[in-house]
Amino acid sequence: MTHAEFEKEGPVVDDQFRLAIDKIPGLVWSSLPDGYVDFLNQRWCDYTGLSMDEAMGWGWQVAVCAEDLPSLVDTWKTVLSSGEPGEAVARLRRFDGTLRWFLFRAMPVRDEAGVVVKWYGETTDIEDQKRAEALLAGEKRLLEMIAKGEALHPTLDALCRLVDDNADGGHCAIRLVDSAGRRVQHGAAPALPPNDRPEQVIVSDIASDARLKDSEWAELALAQGWRACWTQPIMSLEGRVLGTFGLYAETSGEPTPQQRNLIEQCCHIASIAVERMHSEDTLHQVRAELAHVSRAASLGALTASIAHEINQPLSGIVTNASTCVRLLDSDPPNIDGARETARRTIRDANRAADVIARLRALFRKKSVTTESLDVNQAIREVVALLRRDIEASHVSLRTELSARLRPIAGDRVQIQQVVVNLVLNALDAMSTSRDGARRLFIKTEPAGGDHVRVVVEDSGVGVDPADAERIFDPFYTSKHDGMGMGLSISRSIIESHGGRLWAEANRDNGATFAFTLPTSVAVTATGPDDPRVPANA
């Protein structure tokens, strides 16, 4: 049937069929082979607010978002000339002006000769799906930011923007409680109400909420045009409150299920971002500790100059004191000379003391703390912190952390330092291996009832059994830039915790380093300073 024939004969839809079509919970239409729309179901008309007459032919185009129309028409024309089924997405304007995304699908109907005689079409509301996709894409972008180690604040700002774009007119704010107890605000919305309780707080009407009676904050929020505020705590994995996430709305009421979902999701992402930053802080701490170790390691190299610095004034002391004694012993005693040499003795002794004070300042280390320590957790943190180094070294990592591990008593940073040393050594040992053959395996397991064992296995160059002990010597290194202190320090740390650290060659290739630590007995590790003073005290 051609366009002209249609004009003459009118729609060829019988009433029964039409009734059925109108009941279908979708927007259905049909067109002539040339694309002239000859039928739209009742829902189509109800949704767009257009009458059948208005929408017929090409009239339906007024309901399509102007931005999406050209590409929709293009696709429709391509589909028509191909005679094959096709689809396109575009925003369709609802009778009230709201734009929603729809999927337009068209199917040809052919006669016996295979000629297209008619097109049937269905237009499906995909707004929710589109939104979910956009949100998902946004969440993915955020998680990528977090994974890339971008700073916390830009990440949270991006999170706020994502929420604002998806919150149906709501505006978001994030407030963090940093480790110093300070509050940091994010997002364009006003400051959140003062609340750090670990529970959701739904204020559906700021103006009338009894909890906010006489609250300055409520006045401020109302003055800025907000009527409702829904907040949820941002929790760490261990259940600590990291901050508060809030969504503001300009009309009073409860959040929609979508908004609730959004709040939920974003709190989760915010907590990942914040925790990631905390572990980043731990990384910095570990790195600082490591830097300290290398500084302390060069102690050996410095011994010569330290000896010189100290022996010089000592020499003055001995010589002056000798002279002093001789001047007093002489007959008659040379009191003035003795006084002068005694004065010089004091000066040189002070000089020696200054040298010692300078050295102490140089090598001061934060004191060691003993806490009940989950070795698995300590390892997980190290692995997270070194993940980038591991990836950059093209090493595939496998971990097998026993769930049956009892806690040990020890210094978390020190134990992590050992694991960092072992992992970095393993990465170094695999740097010359073939790309696909770089495997790192970290395992924990209970050992002998009252110990835990940590095993770090690599597929690198391996350790000659003849060197298995020598590599633990201070300053033993096979690397250009190596200090040769990593293993020696690691061993002294493990031994100060009452454990053992050793190396073995693997059956095939690579080396295995393992250490044990006692579980129950509290061992006080000792540092150069008073071990009873906790870190950061």
Binding site: T303, A304, Q312, P313, S322, T323, T341, D348
Partner: protein, 128 residues
Amino acid sequence: MTGSSKRTSPLVGVVDDDESVRESLPDLLRSFGFAVDAFASAEAFLSSESLPRTDCLILDIAMPGMSGPELQHELAASGHTIPIVFITAHGGEDARPQLIKAGAVDYLLKPFSEEALVHAVRRALSVP
């Protein structure tokens, strides 16, 4: 005092960049009856009038500019046969054999005792 003791007391030269050594060592040596001249560097000693009159040299090893062993070499090369007692604050004994082989009388680690010092200087002065 220097004028009269020149002939009677042997002249000991002290070369050390450390001021407290230049202050303390001469006083102690003088209390044993030696005449002493102190210099802050090897160069200062080489250009001083004391050079030909010095009977014994107490010489620091590490100094800015010419080091003690370099001065030893320089003196030997220019025909001066002044007996040398090395002193060092650098601790190790590593340098000893080489310096003794090059003609040094003794090698003292700072801080050294009065006895060790006087013993070394007396030995140096008895060396022909």
